[in-house]
Symmetry: C2
Amino acid sequence: MIHHLTERWEITSRSKESTWALIHSVSDAFSGWLLMLFIGLLAGSLAGLIDISAHWMTDLKEGVCLAGFWFNHEHCCWKSNTTFTDRDKCPEWMSWSQLIIGHGEGAFAYILNYFMYVIWALLFSLLAVLLVKGFAPYACGSGIPEIKTILSGFIIRGYLGKWTLIIKTITLVLAVSSGLSLGKEGPLVHVACCCGNILCHLFTKYRKNEAKRREVLSAAAAAGVSVAFGAPIGGVLFSLEEVSYYFPLKTLWRSFFAALVAAFTLRSINPFGNSRLVLFYVEFHMPWHLLELVPFILLGIFGGLWGAFFIRSNIAWCRRRKTTKLGKYPVLEVFVVTAITAILAFPNEYTRMSTSELISELFNDCGILDSSKLCEYVNDFNSTKGDDLPDRAAGPGVYTAMWQLALALIMKVFITIFTFGMKVPSGLFIPSMAVGAIAGRLLGVAMEQLAFYHHDWIIFSGWCSQGADCITPGLYAMVGAAACLGGVTRMTVSLVVIMFELTGGLEYIVPLMAAAMTSKWVADAIGREGIYDAHIRLNGYPFLEAKEEFSHKTLAMDVMRPRRNDPPLTVITQDSMTVEDIETIINETTYSGYPVVVSRESQRLVGFVLRRDLIISIENARKKQDGIVSTSIIYFTDHSPPLPPSSPSMLKLRSILDLSPFTVTDQTPMEIVVDIFRKLGLRQCLVTHNGKLLGIITKKDVLKHIAQLANQDPDSILFN
Amino acid sequence: MIHHLTERWEITSRSKESTWALIHSVSDAFSGWLLMLFIGLLAGSLAGLIDISAHWMTDLKEGVCLAGFWFNHEHCCWKSNTTFTDRDKCPEWMSWSQLIIGHGEGAFAYILNYFMYVIWALLFSLLAVLLVKGFAPYACGSGIPEIKTILSGFIIRGYLGKWTLIIKTITLVLAVSSGLSLGKEGPLVHVACCCGNILCHLFTKYRKNEAKRREVLSAAAAAGVSVAFGAPIGGVLFSLEEVSYYFPLKTLWRSFFAALVAAFTLRSINPFGNSRLVLFYVEFHMPWHLLELVPFILLGIFGGLWGAFFIRSNIAWCRRRKTTKLGKYPVLEVFVVTAITAILAFPNEYTRMSTSELISELFNDCGILDSSKLCEYVNDFNSTKGDDLPDRAAGPGVYTAMWQLALALIMKVFITIFTFGMKVPSGLFIPSMAVGAIAGRLLGVAMEQLAFYHHDWIIFSGWCSQGADCITPGLYAMVGAAACLGGVTRMTVSLVVIMFELTGGLEYIVPLMAAAMTSKWVADAIGREGIYDAHIRLNGYPFLEAKEEFSHKTLAMDVMRPRRNDPPLTVITQDSMTVEDIETIINETTYSGYPVVVSRESQRLVGFVLRRDLIISIENARKKQDGIVSTSIIYFTDHSPPLPPSSPSMLKLRSILDLSPFTVTDQTPMEIVVDIFRKLGLRQCLVTHNGKLLGIITKKDVLKHIAQLANQDPDSILFN
């Protein structure tokens, strides 16, 4: 032994070897960084492409640009040379009614525009669902539950393949443009993970090693959120907190690099035309007052309630889709939901605009020059100093906007439940944030008017004098958005950091945190699971939650199979079974592997052999190796067992034997077993007592046991 | 078995029980949050106290306030009613020469001030070292290496106790005020961890559970960095990346909460008097140009070289301190180093001021009204527009400042090597950042002047026209600071995030990242370890690095003891050894535990018993239990072994037997064994072959093996 080690030292210390090792390790490290660079570039470019296309196609529902049909509304008017009053109304941009009947006024024009809006929406969404159905069934949904499951060690073949990537990218644009109540953030994570998985094939190191590839996927998920919000730090934390199962620290730095590259690629593409990194850039001027925490916490409660309500209703609806005939008509379902959404959305300008535009407008702090209806306050120019506007009385525009927003809120709340889970790519972030932002803005304006008309009330006195700017309704919208997003996803730190990156001011962390915390507590009190975990359970993926503590007092012997009255465990002996014996075992059982023991009498564990390997090896031996017949002895030992010379030639299968199977004793508390399964990512573990093999615990057994203890139906843990 | 489970269900589903469980779980969760709140409040208050006292005592070296000796210089002049030209010179503030000889001019006054400066410095540092030596030897150093080790599962009794807390807080103020080249950031982490550890005693849940307490310490470390820099997100990431060994995600949110509470407590105390959260608040106006990445990467290389140089020299010096007589005279050492530091520091204004003030000034972007010497540019008021200053020619003040800064750089580089590791609390962040900031500022000013005089050169043409503000020297200082800090600590994401929180702009992330990355690569190429890991190894703490990959092909059998030619493993049989036999084993060996086997012949493993438990149990039994003599049989089985009735009464010790010891087979690759040790935090692991016990691997064996494979002296892994 000592000799052996010394030899190894001599080899490694030889300078030639160590130079080679250095070059190898440098190129090795370099390949990781290169891969991250590629992922960042590809994810950023795809996100830019999606943004630009979705923007153009969203505007296409309303009209077309005469200067070039490939310009979107904003771009079209920006290119225009003629002068016009309203920024949005330039002669080059024609609504459909203007194009078809020559004018845009009157009831008929309105109906025509309405009709075209609905038709385009239906066209987009039907195209999306047909593409998904025809080419890449995995392209639907947000993809985050599946990615979580994949990162926990489960393999879903093709889920991150190139077809999924192509179809998801195209259908995401279509789905977003169709005006359905869905966002592009979750699907962007899936798209980025597809990029990561495909690019892994460029490097041998990552192509061959499943664990390393999972690390790359974690980084790709960070890049996905990074481009979704322009929040690289938030993206890394999202990957760490929500998506990744096992996040080794050495990938932290690489994830961050990928996230940054992706964000800056997106910025150079500049899809929003404002050279901002972030989707919703906001700048608030006024600090907040401690008393405002009360409405912020109210928003948190609202967010938590909404989150819990949404998860319950959505899961109930998705279960119905799975179990009834409804699931058989995905195209019809998309058609109906799109039609209802479009018909309800068009009359209300806040639902007609794209959801991200809506959120942007709700977050916005009204300046003196803002022309939007939400900023139609009664101006008192005497009290205005510079850009700092005091609280003002709301004008008629604000009141109209309030009604429309309230209606938009109700519509979004209900339609999102039916939208998430359809056979199109659909993210949850944007609809959740929209619901919260609307609620927040409503509360914010209410607070503002209260403070304006009643600044002598005790709650306002001391910090809100007349003519001061006390309340920023945009901040309320932002806090509301964070609360609702938190209620649905149960994100915590990453949520606050994403929001922090949107505003860039540490000042607003406390309101955001108060709301996010309240929301999580309220939602957790009603139902423990976030939407992604709920969907994982609904689909029966074998996902072992890493965050929950296992606090029961059961032992490994309570969980292992065989149970007390079952027939004994199927084992293979190391040197006394024939080919026929083993073939019988393979045919009679469906286990994916078998423990190998010294002998039936001693039951001492030697190793573990996989069913797949056994079948292949026996088949090969029968074909290629002379003298292997049904009565040949199979042995797993180093040397062949002593047998009479008349017996047929033997088959040595030591090479396929896993000599280091994982074992625990029957007295091991399940708390520790669950911990081992989680941390080491095991699929099965053998149970021994005083050195003798007793049974086996698989991941499925652990999941069933946890479900049992949580009084859930253990058979809901299926693997379909 | 099934019956047993059903019963358990019935119990938990009874509504009374579940209500109780709910209340219990709520109060349980609440206690965690409350603990975080307390830690945040205490850490924030202590940090504020330290800041205020250190500020006052630093100024005390130069003079005293007549309006009240408890005012520091700035506070004193701020309180003053009389008008005076220079902000820093008010009549109430008297330098020592003014106080003693009545005036501050002339050589004698200068020498008197010089003398007083050195005396105060010596007084402070001697007091610090005496307090540390006399009351709390653990209060010295930065504490981060030890906290890393503690979080990895090692116990250092008293390291986080109340005496350490009190003495460290006091001596930290003294050490910082003495003007030694050290910072308060690392020690603040230690102080916060002490707070966490002490506050754990308030809650049963945390007092009793070592693992839970470690989670609290992780969060406390985050709070420590949070108050050190006013960077809560960076603090959490620092704890995650650098300090914590195992960072369960559920503590992420709590750590963040503690970090935020601490930061806001500090802000309400407002020790810097600017109501800013951050230590170095900077606001840059100009974006950077892509070509500037070249100097930024140069700074990264400088930072990496400095980091590697510093670590090597400091470790060499510390080793000398450990091994030679030098270590026997800590007070003398502190005296000499303080004297040299103070004597060299006073003549140069950039070393005389406190290091954090220096960094602040270096980061600062020169405004039109800045009166500092670094901002003495030749003003051309014609080209000035608003607050945006163009690049200008440097005035004589800037040139003087450059020389002084260069001298300061040289002094800091060398004196820091001797300072870090002395018997006073000493952090590394601030001195490292100072070195980098000086280098960065020097390069920044050089670039600025180059761009000013040669804006027609190709490298400047296209982005830097005459009269434009192209170069921001303050940004260079910041990038340099990040590079040097990165080189020394090898922090990555947390470093960038801390710097990002200081500036609050995503714009500057790329320069910071480029520098931090280059610096890490350069430093890693020279020596793998950061300063904390180097000190852990120097002190021989049993720390199993979680970030390094173990890529050798050795097996468990190569590492386990007994080695091939050693005597067999000392084992205890389950039911055949007498009290005397076991006492002999205990006396003849020093192992901390013994495996229990079925019998000597079968060697099948039953469990593991700790030496400590054995000693106590046998002692108790001999005292309290009748009939226990040296020939009594000790048994670990459920039922007593069949013995002739004449034999003395037996001793049952099943209760102290660990029935679920961790085992691996002898063929398990060490890669997996190391992974298991890391992830499960094991101290030892038993090795079996075909169900028979073969040997044992302890954490020490794993560490020795890793050191051997890295061609290091395995005996450097000591546990002192």
